[in-house]
Each structure stands twice: as C-alpha cells, then as structure tokens.
Symmetry: C2
Subunit: 206 residues, 2 copies
C-alpha cells in the first residue's frame, strides 16, 4: 500500500501541473486524490507545509530516478530520467540527452511543469530552493561530462549547459516552442532536440 504522503503529494503535483500554483489548495488535493475532505489539511496544516512537501516529493522522485539509473536495463523503471551516459561519441550522447528531454515532455510532463512552477515560487520562498537541491545532480553530471571532454572551465560550462537544456525543455513545454517545434514524443522531436543538444555539447566542451 502506498503511503498517504505520496498519494497527497502526487495529487498535488498533478494539480499544479494542470492548474498552476493557484489550483493548489488543501481541498482540491483531497478531491483529486479521492481522499475525504480535510485529510490534506490534517497532514499539512499550513499551505507552506503542503508546498514544501510537494517540492520534497519532486526531489525524492528525481533521486529515485537517479538511483534506478544503476539498475540493469531490464529492471529500469518505466520512467526515464538521466540514464548513465557513455560519452563514447558526442553524437550518441546528444541523442541520449535528447531522449531524456523528450521523456520529460511526455511521460514526465506533470513533473516538469510542477518543477518550473516551484522554481518560480522559490523566487519569493528561498527555502524551497534548498529542498529542490538546485538540480545538483544534473549539474554535477554535466560538469563531469564537460570536464572529461576537455572543457576549459567545466564548472561554469556545465552550469551553462544545464541552463540551456532547461531552456529547451521549458520552451517546448510552455513557451513558443510548443507551437514551432515538432510535437514531443515523435521521432522528429527527438532528432530536432538531438541537433540542438549536439550543438550545445560542441559549444560548451570547447
């Protein structure tokens, strides 16, 4: 049986993805999760606590994905996240990252939307940023990657790379890219993303 905490926070994520932070209310979470009214309010007395739980859940899910990365392929979870990269060639690597981005646009759409909403929220509530962990994992990965590729300043370049990838994701998720780019989940989407990521990798590893 799944714990109530995850039921509540997962419902919260879906809600934020669908209606934005404004839709996140105790009662709405109850309804969405099919729980008796008042449950969410009992678990998270204040709204602040509810948001923090939401953010914590996002961080936990990311961590879980990251750990699942080390499982053999046939045990890997349905949810695709940063698979361990084998940067044999830059092109294959780019394709891998593009696949991850595309997954965030499809399977992980709700989580992506909720994450951006929370990042924006973190502007006025800095403690959220601490919980979210600054996307430390991907940042570290990118830094290591670019260091291996011989970048001059891998730390800064890694941060730039992550920011740009996030930009590509956000653009297709919510921005104009949702119109001009090929629809996510398709092969075209992935080749288009691959091209962008490949260019990024080339640029940042120089």
């Amino acid at each position: 049986m799944v714990s109530r905490y995850t039921v509540i926070t997962d419902a919260a994520i879906a809600l934020v993805a669908e209606q934005g932070m404004r839709g996140l209310t105790h009662r709405a979470v109850d309804a969405r999760a099919g729980l008796p009214t008042g449950t969410t309010s009992a678990y998270y007395r204040t709204r602040k606590a509810l948001i923090e739980a939401l953010v914590q859940r996002l961080a936990d899910l990311d961590r879980a994905d990251l750990e699942a990365r080390d499982l053999p392929a046939d045990q890997a979870p349905a949810y695709p996240h940063d698979r361990r990269f084998t940067p044999a060639d830059l092109d294959g690597l780019a394709a891998g990252i593009a696949a991850v981005i595309d997954a965030w646009l499809t399977t992980g759409r709700d989580r992506s939307l909720a994450r951006y909403a929370c990042l924006l929220e973190a502007t006025h509530h800095p403690e959220l940023r601490d919980i979210l962990g600054h996307g430390a994992a991907s940042r570290a990965q990118a830094r290591a990657l670019l260091a291996a590729a011989g970048a001059r300043d891998p730390d800064r370049a890694g941060d730039h790379f992550v920011a740009c990838v996030d930009g590509l994701l956000f653009d297709r998720l919510a921005g104009a890219g949702a119109l001009t780019a090929p629809p996510p989940g398709t092969a075209e989407s992935r080749t288009d993303l691959t091209r962008a990521v490949r260019a990024l990798l080339r640029a940042m590893s120089g």
Copy 2:
C-alpha cells in the same frame, strides 16, 4: 497623465513578480496601485480579463522597446531591450546579447518574472500565448542573424538559440543559477554570460 489601464497593469506585473500568479487579485492590484478598492474590478470584471490585460501590457512594453531600438542612442529609453545588433564580429555580438540578458535580470526583473509566470499560465490558457506573440520578435531576429551567419537551418537554429538564451535567463532569475552564477548587474555576470552566448552563437551558426 498616465492612463489608468497602464497603472493597473503595471501594478499587476509588479504583483505577479513579487508574489506569483496567486498574488494577483483585483483588490491587491488596487492596493498596490494606490487606487480606490474596486477600481480594478470595474476595469476588468473577471480575473481572466485582468490576466489578459497583464499579458497584453507585457507584449506592448516589448513592442515599445523594440521600436525604441530605432531611435538614436541619445534618445534611447532607459529600459534596455534588444538593441539593433551589428554582427560585425561574433564576440561583440555576444557581449551585446549578454548585456541585454543582464538588463532583463536587473532593470527588467519584474517583467521577466511576470513573463515566465504568464508562460506557465499559458499552458492551461492557450489564448494567452496568442497575446504574448510567441516571442516572435526575438525569434525572427535570431533567425535572421543565424541566416546571415550561414547556419544550415537558420529557422530551427534560431528557435533553439532563443530557447537557450531564455534558459540562461530563467536559470539566473529563479533557478539554481541564482546561486552559482555571479550576481547580475556586475561585470562578472556579463563576462560569464558573454562566454555562454558566444559559445551558443558559434554552435548554432554552424
């Protein structure tokens, strides 16, 4: 005397920047703008109308900046936006774009935050995206630029470029970059951004 519409929508932008979409209420706008309670509600009867006005104002401000671009330098407005680029050398161009990004982080911080909030909102309210105009101006500019630089597919590359630049901006505005990057408004910030943008330009124009 400034029209009431701009007073209201400007207050709305500031509010959204400070408190997020959730802080945008008729009464809060009244208070923030120093108008008698009920004014905003009279001008924009529904909340949807208020948001649309907000987004329209963002679009108008952008358009105004764009037009001001053609003024002689001494008449240029205090607010810095996309100045007309003279892509003599890629490095100077990168520095110019970096300066614009930095301006969006400082002078234009509120507008930037409000814009991202609205983009997220546009996920569940597509009509907002139409008003916002898909960032068409910068997109066109980037496409033209990359076409001139001899990019293979300037349209797609231009979109990628804009998305990445937006990612760099968002990252420093709300994401982790707010911690790892040099503080905006400083020379370090601009050199760091210049390096990122230069790499992007090189990559995308290839």
